[in-house]
């Protein structure tokens, strides 16, 4: 998926009470987002297309077929995990804490104000985007690194350690000129201009790895 190509954000809403579901949809009309409503967890899980598209979920803790917490656990087994906003009419502190510690963005008590919902959703979407972009960045970096040749990779590993061309030449038993050539090529492929950028890129790659 291309970062530059912005389509509408897709949000899943899983709530068994019809009136509440309807009401939430109305609240979200103010935002320019695509809301996909479901009455139970199973319905959502079966909709694999939406499963991929939805970056955010508004989830009731109490659903007919499983609890929202369990659904969260199931979703965590298959990343990427959408950003979750829990809504509940009666949830206990420990449930809330559990949900948050597993990575939910927010927990809203029903009935809530429109603004509360909107704030939470936007926060969730932003978080989703960030995760996605870092995911993407790491994916892109992966691709670029994959395009390096074996020799280029060797040189890269010494460069990242801070060695100069002459020193690397000695290590690899090649002429300094050859080393310079490799360096130029790999920096071009990785789309960096300075050694500092190079190091940053590799650091990121390592972190993501």
């Amino acid at each position: 998926m291309d970062l530059s190509e912005l389509s509408k954000d897709c949000i899943g809403l899983i709530e068994d009470d019809d009136a509440v579901r309807h009401g939430v949809c109305i609240m979200l009309e103010a935002l320019n987002i695509d809301v996909k409503p479901y009455a139970c967890a199973r319905e959502f899980l079966e909709d694999t297309a939406a499963r991929k598209r939805c970056t955010c979920l508004i989830l009731d803790v109490r659903l007919p077929d499983m609890s929202g917490i369990e659904l969260q656990k199931q979703l965590m087994l298959q990343p990427p995990v959408p950003a979750i906003v829990f809504i509940s009419g009666h949830a206990e502190v420990s449930i809330v804490v559990e949900g948050i510690r597993r990575g939910a963005i927010d927990f809203l008590q029903k009935p809530f104000k429109e603004q509360q919902l909107i704030d939470s959703v936007q926060k969730a979407l932003a978080h989703a985007r960030e995760t996605q972009s870092s995911q993407l960045t790491s994916e892109a970096t992966e691709e670029k690194l994959a395009s390096l040749t074996g020799r280029e990779r060797d040189v890269l590993s010494w460069l990242v350690k801070g060695y100069r061309s002459k020193e690397i030449a000695l290590q690899l038993d090649l002429s300094p000129r050859t080393i310079d050539e490799h360096r130029q090529n790999l920096m071009h492929k990785l789309q960096v201009t300075t050694i500092a950028e190079l190091m940053g890129l590799c650091g990121l790659a390592q972190k993501v790895q």
Binding site: H22, Q74, A91, V97
Partner: protein
């Protein structure tokens, strides 16, 4: 005269004298004026002086004899001592006293009242006291006659004595023989000298067989040498012995005798005779032994049974007790008998009035049973609950109780169990109530918050769409605010109800599950269904749950399973089992029954709301279960048992220290946390 002499030598009494001789004796008496009287008052012949005469014979004699008393004084042989009365100078009467018996108790008094007609001269001569010799022939004749008479009377007295002693001997012999107890008389060498007829009966030996033998004849062989040694030691030292001996009759039969031995000593202290008395006690002894055996058997049976039984003789207020009863009633060890007051003294003061009342009722005949429970406080021991049951066994002719047999039981353990049981049941219902209330509050809050959320949402939408209509916008604002306010109320109520309950913590599911059969048994003691726990490994990692609530879920599900199982199953079991799901980090608990099966297994999955569950007629219990399980972050669903019946599953999350914080320690009602 010669015949008389012979007769005297033969020692016959005067009344057996031939008639002629009697006359002769009587003539002599009259002629000589003899009155024979014994100082002891026994008369041999002649007139019987009255008692007062005998008391003062000289005075009587004086009165009788009067002035014509004549005394003869003469020298006689030493056999005839003279009683000098009046001096020779005075001539009034003559008195001769002749002892008739060895002990001088009998005397013959001879006195002359008048001179014989034939011999006046002598008399006068005598009375003048000058010449004795002329009267000596007559006197001699008198003296002869007197001596003869004396001899007669002496022998008569002796004969009487003999008769008396013979009579005494006869009596003694009769008594000897009349005695029921066998008597053997032995000499110092232990040779039997005499035996009575009872001895013959007792031993089976004849008298001639017994006399001349020693008592060793009767030895049974049942007693050893030490026994006889001890017996003789006692006989030789104290002269007596008393005890029980086994002897053998002539026919070899063994019998038990009560034996008493007494020693008679000579004047010099040596042994003269020994008297042994034997009474047959064989029957008695056998009866006693039999009774003793019977009693021992009974006692043994009672002791084996472990019952604390006591036997109360109401009349004498004596109670015989087993060791167990004494222990239960707090009496000192080794108590064999006690009084009813001893028992009451050990009863705790508060319980004493009712104990005394019950006892009094029994004693006064108003009741034939004793049934009391009381606490016993014995020194150095903990308080003990005792239950006593007794019954009147025999009554006297007035209907008053004589003998009561009772059993006392230590009920302390039972009491503890009962109060424990009461506490547990109370706790269980309390917990159930609290959980129910909590869940009701949850359910209610959830249900009410739905429409409130919808109202708030719709009002918000309204607000937006009525941007151009300030009045409408205001109203919509109001609606939103009220909806939110309603929600606020619901949440506060929810918080309040939750504060009363214990929170979630790391809990051992196996420990929790292990309590369930006990709780169920407590409440359904007559159930024919057995609750089993299967495949619940004690190594199961802890779950994150509120224990009381999970207990309630299990209890509800098990009860439902039991209800389902009642009607038709072949297998009367409900089984609880668990499975670890490491992937989803949860434990799934299964409650299986082999009952009639759920009509609609979809029941759990289609539960949308409280109303719908009521329509399905499921009942509050199930609703609560669903609510609890979901609130824990788990899921509850049902599947059909392939062997017939239902399996209800629910999941509970595993405790994760990174995700879960432990609730502080719980509720003041002392629920035991696992």
């Amino acid at each position: 005269m010669a015949a008389l002499t012979d007769w005297v030598q033969a020692g016959l009494p005067i009344t057996e004298l031939p008639a002629t001789l009697q006359t002769h004796v009587m003539a002599c008496v009259q002629a000589t004026g003899l009155v024979v009287v014994g100082l002891g008052g026994t008369l041999c012949v002649g007139q019987t002086p009255p008692q007062d005469v005998l008391a003062d014979l000289p005075t009587w004699l004086d009165a009788r004899i009067g002035p014509q008393k004549l005394f003869t004084t003469c020298e006689l042989s030493h056999d005839f001592p003279l009683l000098a009365g009046f001096p020779a100078a005075e001539t009034s009467a003559g008195l001769l006293a002749i002892p008739l018996s060895d002990d001088a108790q009998h005397h013959m008094f001879w006195f002359r009242t008048a001179a014989p007609a034939t011999e006046p001269d002598h008399q006068r001569e005598r009375s003048s006291g000058v010449r004795c010799s002329s009267s000596s022939a007559w006197l001699a004749d008198c003296v002869d006659k007197a001596c003869l008479l004396a001899a007669i009377f002496r022998s008569h007295l002796a004969f009487q004595k003999l008769q008396q002693s013979q009579a005494a001997q006869r009596l003694h012999d009769s008594i000897f023989d009349f005695c029921n107890d066998a008597i053997l008389v032995t000499d110092a060498q232990n040779t039997i000298l005499s035996a009575n007829s009872a001895a013959v009966t007792l031993t089976g030996y004849r008298v001639d067989e017994l006399v001349g033998a020693t008592p060793a004849l009767l030895k049974s062989g049942r007693h050893g040498t030490p026994f006889y040694s001890a017996m003789w030691r006692m006989i030789n030292s104290t002269g007596r012995w008393q005890g029980e001996v086994w002897n053998r009759r002539k026919n070899g039969e063994l019998c038990a005798h009560a034996l008493s031995i007494k020693t008679l000593h000579n004047e010099d202290g040596t042994v003269w005779r020994r008297i042994g008395r034997l009474a047959d006690i064989t029957a008695r002894k056998l009866a006693t032994t039999a009774l003793l055996e019977s009693e021992m058997r009974w006692q043994f049976a009672v002791e084996c049974n472990g019952e604390a039984m006591w036997d109360w003789n109401v009349v004498e207020d004596k109670i015989f007790t087993t060791v167990a009863a004494a222990a239960v009633l707090g009496l000192p060890a080794h108590t064999h008998t006690f009084q009813i007051s001893d028992m009451v003294a050990r009863v705790v003061a508060d319980d004493r009035p009712k104990v005394q009342a019950a006892i009094h009722k029994l004693q006064s005949g108003k009741s034939s049973e004793l049934q009391i429970e009381f606490r016993v406080s014995a020194p150095g021991e903990a308080l003990r609950w005792v239950s006593t049951r007794g019954r009147v066994m025999t009554r006297n002719e007035r209907g008053m109780p004589q003998r009561v047999v009772s059993i006392s039981k230590d009920m302390t353990q039972q009491h503890i169990k009962e109060s424990e049981y009461r506490n547990q049941t109370e706790l269980l219902s309390q917990q159930a109530r609290l959980v129910l209330i909590g869940e009701m509050a949850s359910i209610f809050a959830h249900e009410i918050n739905q429409p409130l959320a919808a109202i708030a949402a719709l009002a918000a939408g309204c607000k937006r769409k009525a941007a151009a209509l300030p009045d409408v916008r205001l109203l919509a604002q109001g609606i939103e605010e009220q909806a939110l306010r309603g929600g606020d109320i619901a949440w506060r109520m929810l918080d309040f109800s939750r504060r009363q309950r214990s929170g979630r913590r790391a809990v051992s599911l196996p420990q929790l599950v292990s309590k369930i059969p006990g709780w169920i048994a407590l409440q359904h003691s007559q159930a024919e269904i057995v609750v089993e726990i299967d495949q619940v490994s004690p190594d199961l990692p802890p779950i994150y749950a509120a224990p009381v609530e999970i207990e309630q879920v299990l209890l509800n599900l098990v009860r439902n399973a039991m209800d389902a199982g009642v009607s038709n199953s072949k297998v009367q079991r409900v089984v609880i089992s668990t499975q670890l799901d490491n992937e989803l980090k949860q434990v799934v608990v299964d409650v299986t029954d082999w009952g009639c099966g759920l009509p609609d297994a979809e029941l759990f999955t289609t539960m949308k709301s409280f109303e719908s569950s009521k329509e399905q007629g499921v009942g509050l219990g199930l609703t609560v279960c669903i609510s609890i399980v979901q609130a824990h972050g788990g899921r509850i669903w049902a599947t059909a048992n392939p062997e017939g019946g239902t399996i209800v599953h629910f999941s509970v999350p595993l405790f994760d220290p990174h995700l879960h914080h432990q609730a502080p320690h719980p509720a003041p009602h002392g629920h035991e946390e696992t």
